[in-house]
């Protein structure tokens, strides 16, 4: 697997999400953030930018989608295949170079079931404390 291939795929995903009007409803989290901070000159210096083959998108709560977007179809066009985990319908999307996953902040008592996001037509895994990332506005970052 080559980094340049991964970058091309990720840029294409971002472009397609942007064209579909869903990119501004998502937050890129995980190791790939560092790359984009550096790409946007937000991260300077000699920090390493290790990346895994997992690319995670956080969907902040509450979900605010004006329309329904068939995200699995977008990913299908890019050659991603759904990998279903158990009978819950939770799917991650696999590609020879990458695995894409949707996450949501877990709230309340939490649940072992994935969270259905109708606006994106996907099911996401709930993870505790992710709301710290989604509730953080630009003032905290800069």
């Amino acid at each position: 697997m080559t980094k340049s291939v991964q970058f091309e795929i990720i840029f294409e995903i971002l472009k397609r999400f942007q064209a579909a009007g869903v990119l501004d409803k998502l937050v890129l989290v995980g190791s790939w953030c560092l790359y984009f901070y550096r790409y946007g000159s937000a991260l300077l210096g000699g920090l390493p930018t290790p990346r895994t083959t997992d690319i995670d998108f956080l969907v902040p709560r509450p979900f605010r989608f004006e329309k329904v977007t068939d995200v699995p179809a977008i990913l299908e066009e890019l050659g991603f295949a759904p990998t279903f985990h158990g009978m819950s319908g939770l799917a991650v999307y696999d590609h020879p170079e990458l695995r894409l996953e949707f996450l949501v902040p877990e709230i309340g008592r939490g649940s072992s079931e994935p969270v259905a996001i109708r606006g994106l037509q996907v099911k996401a895994q709930g993870i505790r404390y992710l709301n710290f990332l989604s509730s953080c506005d630009n003032n905290y970052i800069s």
Partner: protein, 101 residues
Amino acid sequence: MKVLKGILKEEEERLKEAVGSYEREIAKLPKGSVQLKRIKERDYAYRAYRRGERVVYEYVGDLKPEELKELKKKIELRQRYEKKLREVRVNLKEMKRMIRD
């Protein structure tokens, strides 16, 4: 070194899962290609695919244009997935070699 091996093992597992996912999705989709034959001013759609040594032409029925478009879309998706499956298998082979070395 142990950490690195762990990461490689994890990636190997992911690729194995990806092989399963592509195989499952491919099995759901029609194989071959759509070919149109013009007979007496009318187009008839056939699905051509290989069965062993032979190429089979299967009449797909009197499809509406949108149904034909859908069939072509599914065949294209199958071809895309077959290409990706080959890539995953190459990556998996490489990963196994890296773990072994």
